[in-house]
Amino acid sequence: MAIIVDSDTRLVVQGLTGSEGRFHGLRNKGYGTNVVAGVTPGKGGQDVEGIPVFDTVADAVDKAGANASLIFVPARFAADAIYEAVDAGIATVICITEHVPVHEMLRAYTYFRPKGITMIGPNCPGVLSPGKANVGIIPGEIFSEGSVGLVSRSGTLTYQIGHELTQFGLGNSTIVGIGGDPVVGASFIDVIAKFEDDAETELIVMVGEIGGDEEEKAAAFISEHVKKPVLSYIAGFSAPPGKTMGHAGAIISGSSGTAQGKKEALEARGIEVGTTPTEVAQMVADRMK
């Protein structure tokens, strides 16, 4: 097992003929992901190195049996692409695109949330289940198969922690980048609940950062519903209030959203928080002995 993507994933890439979509779509295919289709309006009938391209997601579902979508379209078309995938019956939607306007995501979220689909992103690196499927831009070669579930709001910081784990000989069941925007599809809680139910995952690492209260909510959820050990890392202890730190969602407003506040909320629920990525990896290694 693994979560969200695995060997049953039949992927359609929305925006496959664009430069980013093509580069990463082919990389995902090279990793072993079953990429069954691409979608670019007006380019139906073409192909990208053998992957058939359709005009609509509905065609990709009907004719190629797609069950998951990876979105690489420009920001102003991203919400439309999400609605199209959901309305075509796709149950897993992963949106890499960054700079999607908040109001558009807010409306889309309100629309797809009650439908029970798994939406990851936007502004995220994607999902990788080592040895099974890679959907997005995570460099697959850094990670190996194993039993640590990793969920993060960041991309490169996840690679850093994955790399540190590899130094200890530890692999991952699935790595999920949920994205750095104020409104994203799946929350920490959604992903952690999936890890809790996943037979392959033995330990969960949650990588948070400043802004919002998702980490605090996850802490409460973990203490009530999660039996597997959870460790955490939070980025942004040195961040000044009122300044966006790269991610649209990474901002301390007033006294809320600070790294210290998150650390305290997690520790109050018995969840250990490492001070550096290296220390988190060490803590994971100690637990997995």
């Binding site: 850093q160 950062e209 790269g246 290296t278």
Partner: protein
């Protein structure tokens, strides 16, 4: 992007929320002219992107044009919480019978817009929330439902507004504020205070307006309102270069790729006893030119003594970053800066080799993030 009061009021005016007549002035003479064209007493208001203007002496009543000129002279150049006053909004003075508060913001936790209304206006809203929570009416809006008249009724009856004419005017303002919030892709629209004049007229006496940066492409007119002169000069320069940069107050310049790793690098430098000079994110696809731009921004800060590059290649290729560092050494005068470089991930071997082959005395390769941070901190001493 935060708007000044006068810019927010311009957007209020466009959606039909009543505001007082006013003029912008950047000199005492302009303030005088503005006051005489408006006629009667005016309020001279500092335009700064921070709160607490009144307490800092940034808002003053002027009886006539000569007085307005004098008050403008007093206020221009004031430092209000680190913001220097360069613009004034000269507005017709209003008589105030009552002060209310109305705002709509984006509640991240609930993922819904949130209206807040209270008749206890004119003070800090946090204070009302703390001392008199029942007086603060909070109401979430379902984005798919949009604005419905019951929302205004809940706020008005909840806040115990009893006068029928006030009720009608406030209901209309609530609906228009929601329209402004959605139409301009706002993150926050706040009216504090929303006043009632002795004649019973309701209007917005102040405005706080924040627009989603990611939606500015849809609002070129709002985008043009950005005041580049008011930003930190280093951050403005970074914006011009397309570099994500936040100035901090230390001596170790930091450059990472990706927001999370860059933030974590700042933390790790502080953790090993250093003082980070900045947050700087090359972004996902950092190429050689991006590296040169980032170094140009980082070295403009005179406090910087050493620089730490912490790169984990994903889409970013480490050989590109290495080339960028060498290119920057050619093009900028960087011989006085020790540069600690840690490369991992995509094409890290190639990147390390490029740097080693160049044999530059001020480049210090390190194998891990932690060791790199320690070395950069030592070199800044």
């Amino acid at each position: 992007m935060d708007l000044y009061e006068y810019q927010g009021k311009e957007l209020f005016r466009r959606v039909g929320i009543p505001v007082s007549d006013g003029r912008l002035a950047v000199s005492p003479e302009e303030a005088r002219a503005a006051a005489s064209s408006l006629g009667g007493p005016v309020v001279v208001k500092a335009q700064v992107l921070t709160g607490g203007r009144g307490k800092a002496g940034g808002v003053k009543l002027a009886e006539d044009p000569a007085d307005a000129e004098q008050k403008a002279r007093d206020i221009l150049g004031l430092d209000i919480r680190g913001h220097i006053v360069r613009k004034l909004w000269i507005e017709k003075a209003s008589d105030i019978a009552k002060e209310y508060y109305l705002s709509i913001t984006f509640d991240r936790g609930e993922k819904k817009p949130l209206f807040m209304f209270t008749t206890q206006g004119g003070v800090e809203i946090e204070q009302v929330a703390e001392e008199n929570p029942d007086a603060l009416i909070r109401l979430h809006v379902d984005s798919s439902e949009g604005f419905q008249p019951w929302i205004a009724r809940r706020l008005i009856y909840g806040g115990r507004v009893e006068d029928a004419s006030e009720q009608k005017q406030i209901a209309s303002i609530i609906e228009k504020l929601y329209k402004a919030f959605v139409d301009f892709d706002a993150m926050l629209c706040e009216i504090n205070p929303l006043i009632v004049t002795p004649d019973g007229e309701v209007k917005a006496l102040d405005s706080k307006f924040t627009v989603d940066d990611n939606a500015l492409f849809r609002h070129p007119d709002v985008s043009e309102m950005r005041d580049t002169a008011a930003a930190d000069p280093l951050e403005a320069f970074a914006r011009e270069k397309g570099v994500t940069y936040v100035k901090l107050d230390g001596d170790v310049g930091i450059c990472g790729n990706g927001a999370g790793l860059s933030m974590s690098t700042v933390d790790v430098v502080a953790h090993v006893g250093g003082k980070p000079a900045n947050f700087c994110d090359l972004g996902g696809g950092g190429n050689a030119q991006g590296v040169v731009d980032a170094l140009e921004v980082i070295t403009r800060d005179p406090q910087v003594k050493s620089i730490f590059f912490n790169i984990f290649g994903g889409i970013t290729r480490c050989d590109e970053v290495a080339r960028g560092i060498l290119e920057a050494l050619e093009r900028l005068d960087m011989s006085t800066y020790p540069i600690v470089v840690r490369l991992d991930g995509t094409n890290a071997q190639e990147g390390r080799k490029i740097l080693a082959d160049a044999g530059k005395p001020n480049i210090y390769p390190e194998a891990t993030m932690l060791d790199g941070a320690k070395r950069a901190v030592e070199l800044a001493r």
